[in-house]
């Protein structure tokens, strides 16, 4: 490793705002983007979800003055990347800048025949979506796309950070995105995994997930942003597989334990150093229980933990990037944000769920994620004073 990877620009496009700052302000005020959605084009029944209002998205997109035709998801991507790149001050066209994308379903909406005259069906393929967005910004390097279920965003950040640490690129633009679509809402509903009320991660009365949509972007660089102090550094991360079940987490937390243990040993970090954990916390009975067991097995019972899902719902391939931006903002502001929807523990091991905002110095954070296919990821962020 010859360089460090710093976060030098970040953005979130979501129902809670179109900049990282606006989103973090709303999250600090414990405002949720989740609403009851009565729209049978998703599923026949009302459900709790977080969706960006079309007119607000259109209005913001108009201000970019873009002539070409883009899908709804791509508009979110252009807005998000544009803002993050602007804040970072990098030359986005530079040969030393790489685009990395994470998503589960991308432009899956294009399967609906109503779009068939508007967009080529090839646009549904994630590599194509990535290329269209990368071309828009005039970057000539072939973009990289990671689609690894709900850990996609964390895997993309780990991958980009390592390329920068090895000196292969100076900058990376990591963009995670997924839209709220009939495809995913009906699918999770078929699993009976969707809660009728806003999700309640780690709570005794949790009954399942809420779904959301977002696009989040992080610009990583080997050079710190001179306008920012402190800087947040991505130290590194690891992934693992449960080898247990394709649609349910391990009962013992074994896979997540392995990912956390590996990242700790690789970067010589002890559990006591962790000031904050951004959990996956989907609010399904099994996921939260699995995470609680894994935190207990890795001596993290005392570390303050939250799930941002109560604010945004589960944003799938965007979640890892979205929650890393919020973790980075929490660290810069020294604010542990309340885990929305939590009032009483509903897991079998003690977990220090943040039940109200707390001002506290946060130097080192752990971001974890788990997903279908039995995958897990763990990543370390650290504050770096100039």
């Amino acid at each position: 490793m010859i360089n460090s990877a710093y976060i030098i620009g970040e953005n979130i496009v979501s129902p809670l705002g179109f900049t990282a700052e606006e989103n973090f302000n709303n999250v600090s005020l414990n405002k949720s983007g989740l609403k009851t959605i009565h729209d049978t084009s998703f599923i026949p029944l009302p459900f709790s979800g977080a969706r960006i209002e079309d007119d607000i998205l259109e209005h913001s997109f108009q201000q970019l003055n873009v002539k070409d035709k883009f899908t709804r998801l791509e508009k979110m991507m252009l807005l998000s990347v544009n803002d993050a790149v602007h804040l970072s001050g990098i030359d986005v066209k530079g040969n030393d800048t790489l685009f990395v994308f994470s998503s589960t379903k991308g432009n899956i909406e294009l399967l609906n025949s109503k779009f068939k005259d508007e967009f080529d069906l090839l646009r549904i393929q994630l590599w194509r979506t990535a290329q269209v967005v990368t071309d828009h910004f005039g970057n000539r390097n072939k973009p990289v796309v990671i689609s690894n279920a709900c850990i996609s965003g964390v895997v993309a950040i780990i991958y980009a950070a390592e390329l920068i640490q090895q000196g292969k690129f100076k900058n990376a633009v990591v963009c995670g995105m997924d839209a709220l679509t009939e495809f995913v809402v009906s699918g999770f509903q078929s699993f009976l995994a969707i809660s009728s009320k806003p999700c309640k991660p780690f709570d005794k009365n949790r009954t399942g997930i809420s779904l959301g949509e977002a696009c989040a972007t992080i610009v990583l660089s080997s050079e710190k942003n001179k306008n920012e102090n402190p800087s947040i550094e991505i130290i590194g991360g690891t992934t693992s597989n449960d080898a247990n079940h394709i649609s349910g987490p391990s009962r013992t937390g074994e896979g997540l334990v392995k990912a956390i243990e590996h990242v700790f040993s690789k970067h010589k970090i002890s559990a006591e150093e962790i000031d904050f954990i951004s959990a996956h916390g989907t609010a399904t009975p099994y996921n939260d229980e699995m995470e609680a067991i894994a935190f207990s097995r890795t001596n993290l019972e005392c570390a303050p933990v939250n799930s941002f899902k109560g604010y945004y719902g589960h944003t799938l391939g965007a979640a890892g990037v979205l929650e890393t931006v919020l973790t980075s903002m929490s660290m810069k502001n020294n604010l542990l944000v309340k885990s929305l929807g939590y009032s009483e523990s509903g897991v079998s091991k003690p977990v220090n769920v943040i039940s109200g905002n707390i001002r506290k110095e946060i130097n080192t954070s752990l971001k974890v994620a788990s997903g279908f296919g039995g995958c897990n990821a763990a990543m370390i962020l650290r504050k770096n004073e100039h």
């Binding site: 393929q125 290329q131 009939e182 699993f191 693992s240 080898a243 590996h262 296919g373």
Partner: protein, 209 residues
């Protein structure tokens, strides 16, 4: 990109109803479709893994490729030292279309969790991990075409960073009637007679006609 220390210790290519193992044809069928070919190869390999029949086509293809790749091989590594790094162009689009059909037609609305669960490409990795109890690193890349350089770079990085001691990497794609699997076992090996890990070598094995 090329690395000196790592070798491609085994390879499998499945295409046009021909199975090629380490450069030589080991199984082929003239009749029947691609699915029939994969099922016959499954029987030939005597896998005895009934869950195979529940998988979607993409996972069936990936599963059989991995069975052939690991046949007669004992991997002397800890289970968490074995990584899976797969890729394709179409993600899970083959099954996505099947699933979407079950919700798009409102007169016959029947979303099935058993189909929905296969609408993620990394489920292939999950199925192979469950079969062999592999607990190591995972990554799934979406690329327009087979990208030997990307798979080489990512695998070599896993090995050199100590995150893995063995990587199963490759490409599994179904596009209509074109089914294609290329899978490679990559290890640190002192055996200089083996092909070294490089993008060019992966491309060459993949392109075997």
């Amino acid at each position: 990109m090329s690395t000196e220390k790592y070798h491609i210790t085994s390879s499998v290519v499945l295409r046009n109803k021909v199975a090629i193992q380490n450069g030589s044809t080991c199984f082929e069928r003239k009749d029947g479709d691609e699915l029939a070919f994969i099922k016959e190869l499954y029987k030939e390999l005597k896998c005895e893994y009934p869950k195979f029949y529940k998988m979607d086509n993409l996972c069936k293809l990936a599963f059989v490729a991995s069975e052939l790749l690991l046949k007669d091989r004992t991997l002397h590594y800890e289970k968490d030292e074995i990584a899976l790094v797969l890729s394709n162009a179409g993600s899970s689009l083959d099954t996505d279309k099947t699933y979407y059909h079950s919700v798009a037609d409102k007169s016959n609305y029947f979303p099935s969790p058993a189909v929905f669960v296969y609408t993620l490409p990394n489920i292939m990795i999950g199925e192979i991990c469950i079969r062999h109890q592999f607990l190591g690193e995972n990554a799934f890349f979406i690329t327009e075409k087979f990208d030997g350089d990307l798979l080489t770079e990512y695998s070599a990085n896993l090995l050199s960073s100590g995150k893995a001691k063995c990587v199963i990497t490759g490409w599994i794609e179904i596009n209509g009637n074109n089914w294609e699997a290329a899978m490679f076992l990559v290890e640190a090996s002192g055996n200089e007679s083996l092909k070294e890990l490089s993008g060019a070598n992966l491309d060459k094995i993949y392109s075997h006609k």
